[in-house]
């Protein structure tokens, strides 16, 4: 008999519960806890263990920060990791509830350099990230635990503003991104277990209320049709083709 396991009362901790920086020293990765938002941890017993889960390149490692009552501010991780995905987890060590996950953050990519901290703060559906991706102008990166990253050639002046406001971009690239993201989500059997996929599907539901997405084992044609309808709805709502045509006509008239 199959059944779903009832989920616990695990607390979803905000990403800013903790700030972690990292430095490489010889063959090791030093993790430094630079800030802890104590108020987020008040409901947990001091005996609860705090740990960082690091994942990168098909390797996973748990780094203990000690207990909430005596938390370490600096720990050493395996030097294999360069810029791992990182998740903060608070775990019960009391005898009756030993091993129970009391709270956790969403995963974020640990910035090895200070400059990369900006990435940790971006929590939107699509994370804009200026990157050195020449000769490409944009690139979509889809990972397991975080919202997709939309990388834009960092030589474009104010690339995030450009991507959010340029009518050519919005009318041509964004539909392609929507297709790529939903093509990925609809192919996933476990989409309901991944927060970023749930967020995107909720967003789709605001555009097409009541239009349930096809299951992962539905036909390719059914998935394509659903995504196509979604893109139609999105483009219609934001009048993307009208805006693009208007702008092109305006440019032509100026010439």
């Amino acid at each position: 008999m199959r059944r779903n396991i009832r989920l616990s009362g695990r607390k979803q901790l905000p990403a800013n519960s903790i700030s972690v920086t990292s430095d490489r020293k010889d063959e090791e990765l030093l993790l430094n806890i630079t800030h802890i938002n104590d108020s987020e941890f008040k409901s947990f017993p001091p005996s609860a263990e705090v740990e960082l889960r690091l994942t990168e390149n098909k390797r996973v490692s748990i780094v203990s920060l000690g207990t909430l009552g005596a938390m370490k501010r600096s720990v050493v991780a395996d030097g294999f990791f360069l810029q791992p995905m990182c998740q903060l987890r608070v775990v019960s060590k009391d005898s009756g509830t030993w091993g129970l996950l009391l709270g956790s953050t969403s995963a974020w990519r640990l910035g090895v350099k200070k400059a990369d901290e900006k990435e940790q703060l971006v929590t939107g559906l699509l994370n804009f990230l200026p990157s050195k991706i020449r000769p490409r102008t944009w690139k979509l990166s889809i990972e397991e635990d975080v919202h997709p990253r939309f990388e834009v050639d960092d030589r474009i002046p104010d690339p995030e503003a450009w991507a959010r406001s340029n009518t050519i971009f919005l009318g041509t690239v964004l539909p392609a991104i929507l297709y790529q993201v939903f093509d990925d989500i609809l192919g996933q059997e476990y989409r309901d277990q991944k927060q970023w996929m749930k967020d995107w599907l909720e967003w789709a539901n605001t555009l097409m209320p009541g239009s349930a997405p096809p299951a992962h084992d539905e036909t390719v044609a059914a998935k394509r049709e659903w995504i196509d309808n979604l893109i139609d709805t999105f483009c219609h709502r934001h009048a993307l083709s009208d805006k693009l045509v208007d702008e092109l006509i305006e440019v032509a008239n100026v010439k």
């Binding site: 008999m1 199959r2 059944r3 779903n4 396991i5 989920l7 616990s8 695990r10 740990e51 889960r53 994942t55 990168e56 390149n57 098909k58 390797r59 996973v60 748990i62 294999f80 995905m85 987890r89 775990v91 030993w98 091993g99 129970l100 996950l101 956790s104 990972e143 397991e144 635990d145 059997e189 476990y190 277990q193």
Partner: protein, 235 residues
């Protein structure tokens, strides 16, 4: 065929390798003795290409020749896995009746970005080597099939990043691997109750309730629903 040490393709060599595998150029055109095509990897030993019975045997052979090198570092170097795919091509990607090689999907032979969570584990050489290196005998159930046929159990039980942890794989081994026959238990790769496909799903559900990394394999098995009983008991 025996090689005195491991090599890695240069970017030029990777280009030739891709063309040779897909039949654009003759395989003989890939001169692996040329420094322009491949360079030796220091501190690696000899390797002999054999008709290995299992992926584990193949991975053990590769790890044996990597004994003096940093496997974690080599894991990230595409040229290593391209070179190994090329010298193992008759074992892993045999020729079909029409003369073309049975390549299946691209990333079974051409290494993808290792961090790509869907494709990173597909490579027919790199994946077994990393699994054996990281998990040892806890990877038995993932590596007990022929090297060119990884099967559904490996597909399912390497599909999530958090599965690359000894506790989870030790529990999966207890469920699905018969240490006597050294084969998978019947139904492990199927779609029925308690099969590996279900374990992948149930793991995600347990993961939001328990710190699975803190549990032993036996404790993890205890938390699984009754549908897994048939594999707990099966030999």
């Amino acid at each position: 065929m025996k090689y005195d040490s491991l090599f890695e393709f240069t970017p030029y060599g990777m280009d030739l390798f891709a063309k040779a595998m897909t039949g654009e150029i003759e395989e003989d055109a890939v001169d692996i003795k040329s420094e322009k095509v491949a360079r030796i990897i220091p501190n690696t030993g000899a390797i002999e290409v054999k008709d290995w019975a299992t992926s584990r045997d193949m991975a053990a052979a590769v790890l044996g020749s990597m004994a003096g090198a940093d496997v974690g570092d080599l894991a990230k170097r595409d040229g290593v896995w391209g070179w190994l795919s090329f010298i193992f091509r008759d074992v892993l990607y045999p020729r079909q009746a029409d003369g073309t090689r049975l390549l299946r999907e691209l990333h079974k032979w051409y290494p993808s970005n290792l961090s790509d969570f869907r494709k990173g584990q597909r490579h027919l050489v790199r994946a077994p080597v990393l699994l054996l290196s990281q998990l040892g005998e806890n990877a038995d159930h993932l590596l007990c099939t022929k090297p060119n046929a990884p099967g559904e159990v490996r597909e399912q039980l390497t599909s999530q990043q958090d599965m690359f942890h000894p506790t989870f794989q030790a529990a999966a081994r207890l469920l699905y691997f018969d240490p006597t026959s050294k084969k998978l238990k019947k139904g492990a790769g199927g779609k029925g109750a308690g099969a590996s496909r279900r374990l992948a799903r149930v793991r995600l559900q347990l993961d939001v309730t328990w710190d699975l990394f803190a549990l032993s394999a036996e404790q993890l098995l205890e938390k699984l629903p009754k549908e897994f009983d048939k594999y707990r008991a099966a030999k």
